[in-house]
């Protein structure tokens, strides 16, 4: 018993501290995929015709970046989000902030003309998967 205690005590302390303190680095609750919501959001950039602009070719970021900053921007602006409850006005505000954040990581120029930011919501309905595409925000690139 004593040897098991000595073999685990630092790990147990880290575990207990993480549970107490929560998601504050260097502690973590490892929340990835701890719950599966009944929807999933994904984001993309397109031109005015809806043609995809793969954003990692123009910005130095991971392909899940837009998804992460969506949550951060909503939290920062105290906007309740998820399962398409956001209003058009809120989406426009969020989209503008997301584009500003994205532009901080620009690697190469985007095509000139209208650039649109879209949100796709995937959801389960009647034993199959559905999706809903919503244009959140657009800006003109000169």
């Amino acid at each position: 018993m004593r040897s098991f205690f000595s073999a685990t005590f630092l790990g147990v302390i880290y575990l207990a501290a993480s549970l107490l303190i929560g998601e504050q680095h260097p502690f973590t609750l490892v929340p990835m995929y701890n719950s599966f919501q009944n929807y999933a959001y994904s984001f993309y950039l397109s031109d005015s015709t809806g043609t995809l602009i793969p954003f990692t070719r123009h910005f130095d970021c991971h392909n899940d970046y837009l998804s992460h900053i969506y949550g951060s921007v909503c939290d920062k602006n105290n906007i309740r989000h998820g399962n398409q409850i956001e209003t058009d006005e809120q989406l426009k505000l969020i989209g503008k902030s997301m584009m500003e954040e994205l532009n901080k990581h620009q690697r190469s120029l985007l095509p000139t003309g209208i650039i649109q930011l879209h949100r796709v919501c995937y959801f389960a309905q009647g034993g199959s998967m559905k999706e809903n595409d919503k244009m959140m925000y657009e800006q003109t690139n000169y």
Binding site: A7, T8, F9, L10, G11, V12, Y14, L15, L19, E23, Q24, H25, P26, F27, T28, L29, V30, P31, M32, N34, S35, F36, Q37, N38, Y39, A40, Y41, S42, F43, Y44, L45, L52, P54, F55, T56, R57, D60, C61, H62, N63, D64, Y65, S67, H68, I69, G71, S72, V73, D75, K76, E101, K104, H105, V120, Y122, F123, A124, G127, S128, M129
Partner: protein, 290 residues
């Protein structure tokens, strides 16, 4: 001429050297990626950034200074010099870089680096205070405890957020799958990834029971990861099971091995040491045969 590997035990100095080498390569790679991505302005300060504002460190001159410090500490770590202070430095640098990265709205899920260096520092300080302390054993064993704790936390997090019903979320899991594959398509323009995502998500809707079984298996593995501390043999078996789990996640969800999986492989299996030991054995066998 390099020194031959004579001690092949898991706690030998050579085994520790290969753990450090693997960890350093991985740590430096991750820190470099995060350092290039962060900017001085934080979108939403989290963690350490809530307490201290160190945005000046992420200007260009600041980043160059951090890079020099990262390299210097890495060399000292590899050469086993001033370890008590070097490990504190590596811990602090990890905390600062990861906090700034997370404050920028990016999540690299690299948290494990900071506590790993912290517990290694604890081992070296304990050894400094008590000369009978088994440093060779505990500098690795403490790290393994942190990895086990991280996996266990992942399991607890699932139970607290969703309860045991987490294993019944197959359909919602399928939505996460298509989301992850859509990230690849939307981010990189890889149309094939999206088609693959639809195919996998569709089959998950069809085979709900199999998904339930796999989810239950992965939850069990995470929750009981402390059993990997029982013995070296159990740890190797556990590592193989975890690698299988991560490979399944990679294939099904399109999520590549993150930070925790390679770190687990380094400490649970020490593959570089294994390869080096095998190479030495093969060499001596060939020499004897001749």
């Amino acid at each position: 001429m390099s020194k031959p590997i004579t001690d092949t035990s898991a706690n030998s100095g050579t085994a520790w050297f290969f753990i450090k080498l693997s960890l350093l390569i991985f740590w430096l790679g991750n820190m470099a990626v995060m350092l290039t991505q962060v900017s001085p302005a934080a979108l939403l300060p989290v963690g350490f950034n809530k307490l201290v504002h160190l945005s000046f460190l992420f200007t260009t001159p600041g980043k160059v200074s951090i890079a020099i410090l990262l390299f210097t500490l890495s060399m000292l770590y590899l050469l086993e010099k001033s370890m008590r202070y070097v490990l504190i430095g590596q811990f602090l640098l990890s905390v600062i870089i990861i906090s700034q990265h997370e404050s920028s709205g990016m999540f690299h899920h690299a948290t494990v680096f900071s506590p790993l260096f912290a517990v290694q520092a604890i081992a070296y300080w304990q050894s400094h205070r008590n000369h009978e302390f088994n440093l060779a054993h505990f500098r690795t064993q403490y790290s393994i405890q942190i990895i086990a704790a991280t996996y266990t936390l992942a399991g607890i997090s699932k139970l607290t957020a969703s309860g045991l019903d987490w294993v019944n979320s197959g359909n919602y899991f399928a939505l996460q799958v298509i989301k992850n594959y859509s990230f690849i398509y939307f981010g990189e323009g890889d149309k094939q990834a999206l088609s693959q995502g639809y195919a996998i998500a569709g089959s998950m809707f069809q085979h709900a029971h199999l998904i339930q079984l796999l989810l239950a298996g992965s939850l069990f593995l995470e929750l009981f990861c402390f059993t990997a501390l029982i013995s070296h043999r159990v740890r190797v078996l556990y590592a193989i099971a975890l690698v299988a789990m991560h490979t399944g996640i990679l294939i099904v969800m399109g999520i590549p091995f993150g930070v925790i999986a390679p770190v687990m492989i380094i400490f649970f299996l020490n593959p570089l040491f294994f390869i080096a030991t095998c190479a030495v054995k093969v060499r001596s066998f060939i020499l004897k045969s001749i």
